[in-house]
Amino acid sequence: MPTENAPREVPTENAPGEVPAENAPREVPTENAPREVPAENAPGEMPAENAPGEMPAENAPGEMPTENAPGQIQYRRCARNVIISGGAVIMFGLWGLLKSVFYYSLNRIDLVNLLAPELSESLRGQGAQVYRIVNTILFFMFLLIVNLGLPIRIYIGRSAAADARGVKKKSVIYIVLSALIGILLVAGFIRSFDAVPISDIPEEVIRGMSPSDVINLTSAASCFVLTWYAIRLRIMRRELDKEGRRPYVA
């Protein structure tokens, strides 16, 4: 920085906090001396048209560009929840797949022995490699069967996101499928209490509920949440489209 333009150095004889003499407000020539500012010219309250946050008229690109009518806020909330629930439907499906993989590989489950014990002995005679290959094939088949619902979940999740964003006109199939999966999961949970007398069910539910029951019920809940919000979204969209006020959803 050129020394002639260096920021003023504070003379050491001036105590901290005091404004040094040579830094006191510069003497203003008398013709420019601050005068008593008449009330009507004092820096005062902001005229309403220039209030903070509002754009002065000469810079305004038109009306305030936000979409905050009550219906529009609710629509955005609904759309966001459809996207999130759709993501949750996919996520629970993927988690189910991952759990199967981890469970069987970390616990080193012998699927051949589990599913066909009589075959196990004869296969062992063929050699360890053959046994391992058959085990691996069974493992992948098992994964495929147990996670058949995964492609459907992915379809539901992606359709929900596209529908909420208004990217494509989506049919109601994904909503129906979502409700169906939720019902199947709940039915599966209820069926596990088939042999239990009705009067004992509440106690049995609390005692016998396993972590996978919890995740299945939550997965079902995400499907129902998605169904609920997706239906609401369609109803709101119809009303807002009539008024030409459908808001942006990213």
Binding site: R80, N81, I84, S85, G87, A88, M91, F92, W95, K99, F102, Y103, L106, N107, P211, S212, V214, I215, T218, S222, V225
Partner: protein, 177 residues
């Protein structure tokens, strides 16, 4: 920090120091304990996320995402607890990744400190070097139960000491009117 925070920090710190010593005494028996701690930590993380959703995230735009993640974390914790064993491999990989990341950040700090000519670069360099060497050891001696236990115990010991020190730190801001 309020008095309750200080007491809490002090007690937790002492517990962590005692725990780290207990782990290091018998490495073979400590490994299942460590894997159990890691599983329980996941479950506790899920609970905390759930509480976070109920107290704060439900007010947030897109807060529903937090709820679903909380449930997933809870199930992950349950799942980990239900496994009969977590192989040593995964424990070592976890330790290697944690120390590796910490080491890289410290080295970046060293670069920044040298650029600004700050004296703190020496301490950061030492910490970074320790982390990087630890991460490398975890990968090289990936089948060593003793190493896994000692490294984990050292981390717990360090965290415990920090907590105890913090319990005694003066933290009150002074406002001179």
């Amino acid at each position: 920090m309020t008095r309750i925070n200080r007491i809490e920090n002090f007690l937790i710190g002492l517990l962590m120091i005692a725990g780290s010593i207990a782990l290091a005494i018998n490495p073979e028996e400590s490994l299942p304990v460590i894997t159990a701690i890691m599983s329980v930590s996941l479950w506790i993380y899920g609970i905390r996320m759930m509480v976070y959703y109920l107290t704060m995230a439900r007010h947030m735009v897109g807060g529903l995402r937090v709820l679903f993640r909380a449930i997933l974390m809870l199930d992950l914790g349950y799942f980990a607890m239900g496994l009969t064993e977590i192989p040593l491999l995964y424990v070592m990989l976890y330790l290697a990744v944690m120390h590796g990341i910490s080491g890289v950040i410290n080295m970046l700090r060293v670069r920044e400190a040298i650029r600004l000519e700050a004296p703190s670069w020496r301490l950061n360099f030492f910490q970074g070097a320790v982390d990087v060497v630890t991460a490398a050891l975890c990968l090289i001696m990936i089948r060593s139960t003793k190493l896994a236990v000692y490294i984990y115990a050292a981390g717990v010991l360090y965290s415990g000491c920090i907590r105890v020190i913090q319990a005694f730190r003066k933290t009150t801001s002074v406002y001179v009117q």
